[in-house]
Symmetry: C2
Subunit: 526 residues, 2 copies
Amino acid sequence: MVAWNNLDTLKSYKALSELKAVKLQDVMAGEAGAERVKNYKVPMAADLVYSYAAKSVDDDTLKALAALAEEAQLADKFKALYNGEVINTGEKRMVLHHMTRGQLGDSVVADGGDKREFYMNEQKRIAEFANKVHNGEITNAAGEKFTTVVQIGIGGSDLGPRAMYLALENWAKKEGLFKMDAKFISNVDPDDAAAVLNSVDVAHAIFILVSKSGTTLETLTNESFVKDALKNAGLDASKHMIAVTSETSPLAKSSDYLAAFFMDDYIGGRFSSTSGVGGAILSLAFGPEVFARFLDGAAAEDKLSANADMMKNPAMLDAMIGVYERNVLGYPSTAVLPYSQALSRFPAHLQQLDMESNGKSVNRFGEPVSYVTGPVIFGEPGTNGQHSFYQLLHQGTDITPLQFIGFKNSQIGTDVDIQGSTSQQKLCANVAAQIVAFACGKDDENKNKNFEGGRPSSIIIGEQLTPEALGALLAHFENKVMFQGFVWNINSFDQEGVQLGKVLAKKVLAHETDGALKVYSDLLNI
Amino acid sequence: MVAWNNLDTLKSYKALSELKAVKLQDVMAGEAGAERVKNYKVPMAADLVYSYAAKSVDDDTLKALAALAEEAQLADKFKALYNGEVINTGEKRMVLHHMTRGQLGDSVVADGGDKREFYMNEQKRIAEFANKVHNGEITNAAGEKFTTVVQIGIGGSDLGPRAMYLALENWAKKEGLFKMDAKFISNVDPDDAAAVLNSVDVAHAIFILVSKSGTTLETLTNESFVKDALKNAGLDASKHMIAVTSETSPLAKSSDYLAAFFMDDYIGGRFSSTSGVGGAILSLAFGPEVFARFLDGAAAEDKLSANADMMKNPAMLDAMIGVYERNVLGYPSTAVLPYSQALSRFPAHLQQLDMESNGKSVNRFGEPVSYVTGPVIFGEPGTNGQHSFYQLLHQGTDITPLQFIGFKNSQIGTDVDIQGSTSQQKLCANVAAQIVAFACGKDDENKNKNFEGGRPSSIIIGEQLTPEALGALLAHFENKVMFQGFVWNINSFDQEGVQLGKVLAKKVLAHETDGALKVYSDLLNI
């Protein structure tokens, strides 16, 4: 049995807090620094490596973090989770997104069946459907192939799938695996749907409506938008739409859709990229085999995350270093900086994954905690960010821990050699340089040109951003967020903080407001 | 003469720090709350309104902030700036980006001429060039019209122009003013240029190379990428490219370009959207008249920013409230949340504008300051963000001040009526609801469903996102950042923090590394 205790009640947390902070400028210097970079790394799945040499930790810190991970029973709690315990206690639900890509422990039976089989079956149904679209068995009314797929969804039904699509789009084109363009409609702003629909040949478009509950306001509104557009083009909307939803939702058995594919309450939106929520659009865009490779990468990373030895478990190690930075060193935010244009929206996905999971002030029993929990997450791809907000990261008054990601090889492979190096080499040289600049700094008599250093970062290095590597990256961060939630003793799998705004917005639309809300409504002409 | 003093030496700052904090949950409640929303707003240009009712201030705070603004001589410092004093002391340069859109004070003569005339003349040259492209006087070698414009630039030469283009793209299409598609290449990642070039018909594309110095590594590398692509298509690159640069740059008189348009050292990259850096691409995409309207909006907002009365100066007021939140209340970050899909990249532009300008630890004399300066800036459009990171904003352990932006009307005007309201109404209802939810919170016995409230926000409300409104928005934030830099006594117009990384990256590429940097280079296969 696992014990759920607040972080500040754990003995090893006290011990951790009393350690002397590492001075990165010292430990990263000279040959000792070189040895440190060689040693402070751990293999991930899909040939990725997690390097934490430029983090403010040493062997003592790591020992203390391992002790904390053990006292907090992180491995046991993950085991409880993947064996089907009700970990999402607020909503009284199991947490089974790992099962969409593998079976880490016991069989879990619920809703009349084995859940792993259920998820695999849905994946198979999606694969069959996608193959039929690709080979022309499923076409539009004129018997012509669909050429574009448009996902209608918001939050977890948008950010993850969109980030994954962009991550693999150019790779798939290069590999000859690209099947269909994908687009996304998410915002209730009518200009979002209108602009996407203006850019699409609706007669050859297939739309995926994604809503677990089947009641998401934005998504249903945008469905109407799309149906209007199809109707105005003289088309039968039901022949152009599929649904990804839960079996109990109003969308499940509707004749409005060509087909419906299912997820369930055990998969939170922000953890749903490996379910049908990501599966339908990625299988249609790139083919089911590419989606299967993405799942394989995630499954392999999950296995590493199940290791009770923190030093061999990159997600747990990353999580624990993050807890040290947040709770002991007191850093309020973390920047995610992929040196890969294909990962341009990966930071936005991690922003949801992390902030929605761990932006909580009460523990899993509903009691206020007296320590900080999830940080603010933000980021943009490098080298772009270097010419933007890195100024503050280097010389600002607050320290922001950094999460770099880099790949040795590009996806498309087209390159130019300028001043003796390729663009890919310049890209990699820049991320290496940044790590050292942030950690070591540089003294200058002109204090305006002085770099204090001592700014911690880690980097995940891969060979190339393939489907497997992307799956491993995704699973790494999902598991990191989960482990941090365990340490903070919060429920990372609900999101009660989104409710109040929904309730008040309904009141505004029903004109049932008074006081300040009424005046704001007037100012906005509602 | 203005006096440059550190914030913590100012008497009025001490007075401000001693004020009792306002409890938003109380002041925003009931009829008093309604009155507050009616009163705590100030008009901006282009029919925008800045509403600060949901900020943690009351009349006493505002009085103290006005006293601080006066003691810090904000209006006088802005006056010194627009009259041509050397405000960028680190680089010994004047700061004249306001002059690209108007003349607020004295004539400024430099580099052998009147600077306002110089900027206007460049704008006129760009307008003439754009008109010739649109009417077919300037064509490709085959005499066919150009249909796409591609900007090659990074940082300030990318984020601002890109955000502005996206902000007006759908509006221009709707108004029948759209002339050409625009695309952007920024990252040194070879997959960025390769993917954009794969998506463009290069035979009908005109490329804008943007680099003030003419030496930006990423931009020159991507220029070679583009030249290769043009050559491979059998085209003469010099007939497909223009340059936006300084008159002294290597690009200025090159026969490699159809034309060169000029900016100068008095305009920082992140403040260059109203110069030729934004002017060339926006004039080509939407026509010079639309760009002129954008400048008019910015100029009108600048005039308001010159008002010495903080209560009638929205940028100064916004700046001062921000200083109170940062230095007295201790909040580490600010979220920018436009309820407008067209402003999807506006937060990324503000992230650069703010963090690169004010992420500094030394004052304008190079002495370390003992107070915090610029915050972390991040954001995504609403309602998307509501389904993502708002959980942390509502229920996280840290408080993040919020900057909402909303418009009464959409740009395209296509809408659907679902459950008794349009999408535009739903969008506006949501932002109104969020402001009140963040400020007032809601008690719940179940602490997991409890909303503490007391989370401050402001909102800028407009009629519609037009070129004038966009210009006013841009100038508002530029001036806000400038005023905050004055209060913190830092130089907001240099960026020495970007240098060290560049130096180290060059060493990596020259294989002149040792220690940690050498090992990272090996890990990344450089």
